[in-house]
């Protein structure tokens, strides 16, 4: 079946380029100076990157260390046999303010199945932060230096966010092909126009609130899909892992993931970093924090709601990976004095800044340091051992 797209050589190159390789390819092949200026961005603790910085890369998720928010993708193919034959997977670490979206909703890496094609924006490793993955002396020429993920999205999220969907133009179950054409606003990176993907009985068809069947696929249907590896990967061919063929199925997927995310964040707390500490005599102080972006709005609303008499929040020192130590024990709690919403925040920032009064300050409450913020309405629970940091060496 992987030979079915040989008729689409022209469009394949366009596809590959649009799948992020428009940026990646020049990098791999000596990027132009003007392009380097916006891609060689090194994030700094305490400063969010400017809009439009970073490089776009796409690839299939091949490994995940979800506790440390790290993983690896196999970049999409570019017709280079050697690359497909020998390139190591592209290991990455999520920036602390880096976001993951899955099924159109906020997510964690742990929510994304291995094999999912992801679209991301990546920056260079941050200075002063233990670089992970390490940049090796003899770094493979196929591995871009940009390994700090600012965003990661599955196809569903990626195309839907940009207003693009797919229309089925032809289905051939016996041949295992699905011909589609993009609808709506063409995505700035990724696939657009006419494409052909593999399907087979492993493809999950989502119809309404239930599984459908391949025979439910019909021309002119508007849909979203998630892609995965296919044998002709190196030549830009993909297999359809999931396809949502009606609005209700997409709503269900989105809402389930949103609830997974909310449940997770209520126990892991909202990440952010310290903007400023105003020291007071006796060891107390007022800590200003900005929460990171990418979370469900109801969680930000819960934070804002604590800025009232009797309200309050806990703040746990966290690491670049967003892991905390013994958060319900080591965090401090205090009243939320006020909050401020900044319009048009930079990437990674929610724009929501809160000020919290503490009678004691922790070493981790320093400008630029990562914290986890727990509105008092969130549960104060102990995390499982593998989620906690137990020594400085584990960071």
């Amino acid at each position: 079946m992987h030979e079915v797209n040989r008729d689409h050589t022209v469009s394949r190159r366009r596809i590959l380029q649009s799948l992020g390789m428009v940026v990646a390819l020049p990098l791999l092949n000596d990027a132009s100076p003007s392009l380097a200026a916006e891609t060689d961005v090194v994030p700094k603790p305490g400063t969010f990157p400017a809009l439009g910085t970073g490089v776009s890369l796409a690839g299939e998720l091949v490994s995940v260390d979800h506790v440390n928010r790290r993983g690896a993708i196999r970049l999409v193919g570019d017709n280079d046999d050697s690359r497909y034959h020998s390139a190591p997977s592209h290991r990455f670490a999520m920036l602390p303010y880096g976001t993951v979206r899955y099924h159109g909703a906020p997510a964690e890496l742990r929510d994304v199945p291995i094999g999912t094609l992801l679209h991301g924006t990546f920056l260079l490793p941050a200075e002063g932060i233990t670089a992970y993955p390490p940049i090796e002396k003899n770094q493979s020429k196929y591995v871009p230096a940009q390994n700090q993920a600012l965003t990661l999205e599955d196809d569903f999220s990626f195309y839907e966010r940009q207003g693009q969907s797919w229309k089925i133009t032809a289905v051939d179950i016996s041949k295992g092909t699905l011909n589609v054409s993009s609808l709506g606003q063409p995505s700035s990176a990724g696939l657009t126009g006419d494409c052909v993907f593999e399907i087979d009985r492993s493809t999950r068809v989502w119809n309404g609130r239930a599984f459908g069947e391949l025979k439910d696929l019909a021309p002119d249907q508007s849909m979203q899909l998630n892609l995965t590896w296919a044998p002709e990967w190196k030549n830009g061919m993909f297999h359809v892992a999931d396809v949502w063929i009606d609005p209700e199925s997409r709503d269900v997927a989105r809402e389930v993931q949103r609830q997974v995310h909310i449940r997770h964040m209520r126990t892991r707390w909202l990440p952010g970093w310290v903007d400023h500490v105003e020291h007071q005599p006796g060891g107390g102080g007022i800590v200003s924090v900005t929460l990171f972006s990418g979370m469900d709005q109801t969680l930000y609303d819960a934070a804002r709601a604590e800025a009232k008499p009797g309200g309050g929040a806990s703040m746990a020192a966290a690491e670049w990976t967003l892991r905390t130590w013994w958060q319900e024990h080591d965090s401090r709690n205090g009243p939320v004095l006020d909050f401020k919403d900044s319009p048009n925040p930079p990437p990674g920032s929610s724009g929501l800044q809160l000020r919290v009064q503490f009678s004691r300050l922790l070493e981790g409450y320093r400008a630029g340091r990562i914290i986890r913020f727990r509105p008092n309405s969130f549960p104060n629970v102990k995390l499982p051992p593998e989620a906690r940091i137990n020594s400085l060496d584990e960071r």
Partner: protein, 808 residues
């Protein structure tokens, strides 16, 4: 003893006199000048005063139901005696005051008196009741007994035997009862079986230490931070607030010298760390001081102090931030310095700000040396000759015992007195005790005798109105040294020359120059100004997070240090009311918002007018002791000024006074003054508050712990914090705006203040409450002191040389 009626008649007789008069009359007249209320009524004190001030009121409002024919509540007023010195009578009149004050009488269905009328009657009766109480407390039989306060007991056994006995240790002695701050009033210092038991145990302890079976030897130990670390670099002990390290041990009670090499880093706000020796068993610090020494220039602090037995932490007693079980976890490795030993544990408490300054006051200790118990030759000399050199030498024992008993009882002893103790020695030896043990048992008996812990004045068989030379020696020494007379005083008493003015004056000069005078300059202001009330209501930590024990101690030190400065420089009494200086240490400077003094000990500093201090009345101790831990209390402040400055105690408040309610949430914020002024519109309250409140409102610019403010923080209510109104008007019409003007008003009439001060000084010196009988002599002392512009030493000297001081 004169009866109250006599006293009242005396008053009437002496009232027209311009030079004599009584303290009582003058006091009231001055008070009346201040308040200008009911001058006529006050002038007519005594029985005639009753007829003028009270009788018309009673006839109008009371007698119809409390007379010969009808006794509502079984209470008859028309025959109630007017001799307030009789306790039963005073209690009946107190009942009348209570009913009037509470509004219970006259009944609501009866015609009601005007508030001013009611206030005048209550004031008059309350004053008479107080005078009666004072007279009862000052009653003296042929022999007067004044038990030593526990503070005096401690000083006495030290001066007698060179033994430091901590009277404040748990189980040592009960706290002495106080009368308006004075804890040496004879009539209050009664004796119970518990006291006898404690005196006995204390005597045993003191004598065991004075004459131990085995002489103690002084030890010297040194603990070093680097010791045993096996490291090349210098290792130090960081002590964060609330943290200490067990580095000192006192093997027995005594004098110890502790040397500590350390650095002391102030907090980023400039607060110095407070070094303390914290006693493990007593759970409190014994001694403490602020220290300032850069990290790279450590200093050596030497502390020489008496320590009770036990183990001590060298401690950083700055306000504790680590009281919830967290440890600073500076580093896993030994601490070397603040740069290399910083924590990278993000969950640890933050210890340094972004500029690298310590957030908290920090002590970094290198080593501690402890030497002790130190056995000063001067202390050992005190014990010389008090115990026979040879065992079984009864003759020598009698000589030694004679000297010991004479010193301990502060008078010559008879053979009969001695024989009892010699017999005790013999019986103990006969029972198998060693001679030394038997002799010591006799000494215990001597110190357990009432002749030791009671000062006795008078003779059972001879009516004397003045003290003899032996009694005079004790009176002098307990007044100025809070302890027994020394050998020179004994010698002069023995010669019978101490009472001669030239001898007395010479002794006074000598005694004032003796270091023991520090006991007076410390103890008298504490009692006069009622400093024991500082911290009695610990300030609410949520309202006053900066308040701590060291601040509390510093407040008291400012006031006693201030008194000591006035004494040592022989300044005028006026300095107690207004001045451009005070005594300051860094903690107080921080509290007052003043620049930090260069050295950390208490020292005299000049004040500028904009700093709103000077004199006693605006010191944080005074402003705190008249507050309740959550808010200032203008009425308490007014009462305190009345008592400490004018020597007059206002009538007690009526019962069941409704407390000031918090400002309702839907009402504008109201200051305490606003609420009080509303409160004082009630008939039963107004008359007194009109007199008291202006004395307290003057200090409304100071909060409950004595910090300056211009607006009052009010919990609840709506709107902004209301501005402070510290203006007022005295009853004589003079007005003031703020504490400074108020103090100036007081200082305009130093005579009045001086007279009240002499009365307080005499109360302390004579160990009894002053009465009408003493007023003429108090006035005479005041007048004599006026020529020298009321210099403090002059006032003391005039008191000691006065007839009053000799009066038994």
């Amino acid at each position: 003893m004169v009866t109250d009626r006599h006293a009242l008649e005396d008053v009437r007789e002496t009232w027209p006199m311009t030079t004599g008069g009584t303290m009582f009359v003058m006091r009231l007249s001055l008070w009346a000048l201040l308040f200008a209320v009911n001058t006529e009524a006050n002038a007519a004190d005594g029985v005639a005063g009753f007829d003028q001030s009270v009788l018309p009121f009673i006839e109008t409002h009371c007698l119809r139901c409390h007379n010969a024919q009808k006794q509502e509540g079984k209470f008859r007023l028309d025959t109630l005696p007017r001799e307030f010195v009789v306790q039963a009578t005073a209690q009946r009149w107190a009942e009348v005051v209570f009913r009037l004050n509470s509004g219970e009488m006259p009944p609501t269905k009866e015609p009601q008196p005007k508030p001013q009328e009611l206030g005048a009657v209550v004031d008059w009766l309350s004053t008479r009741i107080q005078e009666g109480e004072a007279a009862r407390m000052a009653q003296r039989g042929p022999v007067s007994h004044y038990r030593l306060s526990r503070e005096e007991y401690g000083h006495t056994v030290y001066d007698l035997l060179g033994v430091y006995f901590d009277v404040n240790l748990p189980g040592a002695f009960n706290e002495d009862p106080r009368w308006h701050g004075f804890d040496r009033i004879g009539s209050l210092l009664t004796l119970s079986p518990s006291h006898v038991d404690r005196y006995f145990r204390a005597a045993e302890t003191v004598l065991e230490r004075a004459f131990p079976d085995q002489e103690p030897t002084s030890q010297k130990t040194r603990r070093e931070a680097s010791a045993g670390q096996g490291l090349v670099g210098p290792v130090r002990w960081p002590l964060w607030p609330g943290h200490g390290q067990h580095l000192v041990t006192a093997s027995m009670p005594g004098l110890y010298r502790i040397r500590i090499r350390l650095s002391a880093l102030p907090s980023f706000k400039g607060r110095l760390p407070h070094l303390a020796l914290w006693h493990h068993q007593l759970k409190r610090s014994i001694v403490g001081l602020d220290v300032d020494a850069p990290e790279d220039k450590p200093t050596v602090i030497e502390i020489e102090t008496f320590l009770p037995e036990g183990q001590f932490n060298v401690m950083n007693e700055s306000p504790g931030m680590l009281a919830d079980g967290q440890t600073p976890s500076v580093s896993q490795s030994p601490f070397v310095n603040t740069t290399d030993s910083r924590s990278n544990q993000p969950t640890a408490y933050r210890l340094f700000n972004d500029a690298g300054q310590s957030i908290f006051p920090l002590l970094i200790v290198d080593w501690v040396e402890t030497e002790g118990p130190i056995l000063p030759a001067s202390d050992q000399k005190k014990r010389a000759g008090l115990i026979p050199a040879q065992a079984d030498d009864l003759k020598a024992a009698r000589e030694s015992l004679n000297r010991f008993v004479t010193l301990a009882w502060r008078r010559p002893v008879t053979d009969a007195d001695l024989n009892r103790y010699i017999q005790l020695i013999e019986s103990e030896v006969a029972a198998g005790e060693t001679f030394r043990s038997a002799y010591r048992a006799a000494m215990v008996a001597v110190l357990s005798s009432k002749n030791f812990y009671y000062l006795e004045e008078g003779s059972p068989s001879l009516r004397r109105d003045t003290v003899n030379d032996w009694e005079l020696a004790s009176r002098l020494s307990y007044f100025l040294w809070s302890s027994m007379p020394d050998d020179e005083l004994y010698g002069l008493a023995q010669q019978g020359t101490l009472h001669r003015p030239e001898v007395l004056r010479a002794q006074l000069t000598r005694m004032l120059a003796d270091p023991k005078i520090g006991r007076f300059t410390e103890s008298f202001p504490r009692q006069w100004l009622q400093l024991h009330r500082v911290g009695a209501f610990p300030p609410d930590a949520s309202l006053f997070p900066d308040y701590d024990k060291w601040l509390e101690q510093s407040m008291v030190q400012e006031t006693t240090g201030y008194f000591g400065e006035v004494f040592s420089k022989n300044l005028q009494l006026r300095e107690f009311l207004v001045s451009d200086w005070t005594m300051m240490n860094p903690r107080l400077a921080m509290h007052y918002g003043l620049p930090r003094p260069e050295v950390s000990s208490l020292q005299r500093v000049l004040l500028r007018p904009e700093e709103h201090r000077g004199g006693l009345l605006t010191q944080a101790s005074i402003l705190s002791l008249t507050s309740d831990g959550t808010r200032h209390r203008p009425v308490h402040r007014g009462v305190w000024v009345s008592e400490a400055v004018f020597g007059r105690t206002p009538p007690p408040p009526p019962p069941n006074v409704e407390p000031l309610a918090p400002t309702p949430s839907d009402q504008p914020k109201a200051t305490i003054r606003m609420q009080l002024e509303s409160h004082a519109t009630h008939a039963t309250c107004a008359s007194c508050h009109q007199k008291i409140d202006p004395l307290g409102f003057a200090f409304d610019n100071f909060d409950a712990i004595g910090r300056w403010r211009t607006s009052e923080q009010v919990p609840g209510g709506q709107g902004i914090s209301p501005p402070v109104n510290a203006s007022g008007q005295l009853m004589d019409g003079r007005s003031y705006n703020g504490s400074e003007e108020f103090k100036q008003l007081l200082a305009q009439d130093t005579d009045r203040f001086a007279e009240a001060f002499v009365e307080q000084l005499a109360t302390y010196a004579l160990r009894r409450v002053m009465t009408i009988d003493d007023t003429a002599q108090i006035k005479a002392i005041t007048v004599a002191s006026q020529k020298e512009e009321y210099k403090l030493r002059t006032v003391i000297e005039n008191l000691i040389l006065s007839d009053l001081f000799f009066k038994r």
